[in-house]
């Protein structure tokens, strides 16, 4: 495989109950789970973005392909972007066959992740309900259920009585403003601890010798021979990146950022079909467990789940105005409260603890952009909109294969950047969670 060679396979040190007791009794402290590397300037692969996608790509490059001379650079700390801001919901009940196959592989990887990475990611397979409030929504649910069944995914449409049995706190009466007519029930969906996923991949990649650079901001991408200004753009070859700590050289650079995907790709002279919108989320005070499933309502633009600590986590659709500003707005909390109380009138006395926002890179067809770009050696894994977290593991696995073999695997072929110039968009619009 030419330049990409050299394997030093080494599994991460095991965490175990015996080890925990041993350290606890001897009052030993725990070592850092990844190294703080000395700055080096030559690598085989540089990955920009230390979130789930970037770290998973680094991990699978090392674990599946033996490529360990890899650097992951992040301008803040690992998992500081979308990976630490999402509402941690995973599911695979999508609408298009391409989407279903892809997200189902992701769910498979999430299922075995705790043992694969030897770190408890607290995957809770609690079931996922997508509510339908209109006839047309119900029709789409039926359509999705059939596509899902055809692909072997556990997914079915259920009626209000069954919804009430699963989730008693929902108001399924006909007296509400938007009565619940039915729901798409997806038992394998659930929630997961997003920070643990980041730490698990970081620890795994680090054990294979991948260098993880935090607080290292990419200021420019070095490209030669391109048709644009300064030799960048289509036809060029990537040479490395310029960071705030110095230049780093590599024949392959992978852009795995969310929120800053356009900003970084523009540095290489590659224009993306992306606009960046913030998505706000909020969390309540903790209460006793009463919500056993994940509840999503497309018409009311809201999704709710209860964490293991008892807090309700709410998410909504993206803000309408494109911005990189992650400030919260009063409009969001007002709208959210109204919609949630429409679904669950019983929680009117609960108080919100805090709200936050994350940046979502929206594409015109609500599908990601993955694979090669017109700049040789510059790869992207971007445009993950509001659904990047649930696809993290499979994106990492597929991007690693794409980079290692210098060929796009079949599973992500429909998501290549060139679909926009060839007019072959993947319409995942109806199936993305809310508000699209």
């Amino acid at each position: 495989m030419g330049i990409l060679s050299g394997s030093k396979k080494k599994p991460p040190a095991k965490y175990s109950a015996v080890g925990l007791a041993w350290r606890g009794l001897r009052k030993q402290s725990w070592p850092r789970i990844w190294r703080e590397p000395e700055f080096r300037n030559t690598y085989d692969v540089i990955i920009i973005g230390g979130g789930v996608h970037g770290l998973a790509t680094a991990y699978y490059l090392a674990a599946n392909h033996g490529i360990t001379n890899v650097a992951v650079v992040d301008k803040q700390y690992l998992g500081s972007g979308g990976s630490g801001r999402n509402t941690a919901i995973v599911r695979s009940n999508y609408l298009t066959p391409e989407g279903v196959a892809f997200y189902d592989r992701s769910l498979e990887l999430y299922n075995s992740m705790s043992s694969d990475l030897n770190l408890n990611v607290m995957f809770s397979e609690r079931g996922h309900l997508t509510l339908a409030h209109t006839d047309s929504a119900l029709r789409t649910m039926n359509w999705r259920a059939e596509v899902n069944k055809l692909q072997g995914i556990d997914s079915a449409v259920i009626d209000p009585a069954e919804i009430k049995k699963l989730t008693p706190s929902l108001d399924v009466s006909a007296e509400t403003r938007y009565p619940i007519l039915g729901a798409l029930y997806h038992p394998p969906g659930g929630t997961i601890r997003h920070d643990a996923v980041v730490w698990g991949y970081a620890r795994g990649a680090d054990a294979y010798g991948v260098d993880l650079y935090q607080k290292t901001e990419v200021l420019d991408i070095l490209v030669e021979g391109g048709s644009g200004p300064e030799g960048k753009g289509p036809g060029g070859t990537v040479k490395g990146v310029r960071t705030n700590r110095g230049d780093m050289h590599a024949p392959i650079v992978v852009n795995c950022t969310a929120g800053w995907a356009s900003h970084l790709s523009n540095m290489a002279g590659v224009t993306l079909p992306i606009t960046t919108h913030p998505l706000q989320a909020a969390v309540t005070e903790p209460v006793k467990t009463f919500l056993p499933t994940v509840v999503v309502s497309g018409s009311l633009h809201v999704y709710v789940s209860q964490t293991d600590r008892g807090e309700l986590v709410f998410g909504a659709s993206v803000d309408p105005v494109a911005t990189y500003n992650m400030g919260g707005t009063l409009e969001f909390t007002e709208e959210l409260a109204g919609h949630v109380l429409e679904l669950m009138p019983g929680i009117s006395k609960m108080r919100l603890l805090r709200q936050w926002a994350g940046l979502c890179d929206m594409t015109p067809d609500y599908s990601p952009v993955m694979g090669p770009t017109p700049v040789d050696g510059f790869y992207v894994d971007v445009g993950w909109g509001t659904y990047g977290f649930k696809a993290g593991p499979v994106s990492g696995e597929q991007m690693a294969a794409c980079v290692a073999n210098r060929a796009t695997p079949d599973l992500i072929k429909p998501f290549e950047l060139r679909r926009f110039t060839e007019g072959a968009l993947v319409g995942e619009k109806g199936a993305a969670a809310v508000g699209h």
């Binding site: 800053w260 356009s262 900003h263 523009n266 224009t271 993306l272 079909p273 992306i274 606009t275 960046t276 309408p320 105005v321 494109a322 911005t323 990189y324 500003n325 707005t329 009063l330 409009e331 015109p364 926009f420 110039t421 007019g423």
Partner: protein, 94 residues
């Protein structure tokens, strides 16, 4: 809350207006190539900085206008109505 100055109605909450995204010059569909047309349809600069964009004052004067906005700080410059060449922005309307 983002206060957007409509050229006719004055400062309005962004939620009262319709946001129509980046301003682009539309290529002539009779002579442009499919690539040029799709570039116009899909590709966006999406900078973290100053951006000229289209807004529609649907609940007020019902006029479309353009304004330059800083996408990180939310700072806004003088709005311009189609056909005007005033304001602090340079160049003509795209």
């Amino acid at each position: 809350m983002l206060l957007v100055p409509c050229p006719n109605c004055g400062p309005r909450n962004a939620a009262d207006l319709t946001y129509n995204g980046e301003s682009h010059r539309r290529p002539d569909p009779k002579i442009c190539t499919p690539e040029e047309w799709r570039t116009y349809l899909y590709l966006r600069e999406n900078p973290s900085g100053w951006l000229r964009e289209n807004w529609y004052c649907g609940s007020g004067c019902r006029k479309h206008f353009q304004i330059e906005r800083h996408t990180l700080t939310g700072e806004l410059r003088e709005p311009i109505l189609p056909g005007e060449k005033t304001g602090t922005t340079k160049g003509d309307m795209k």
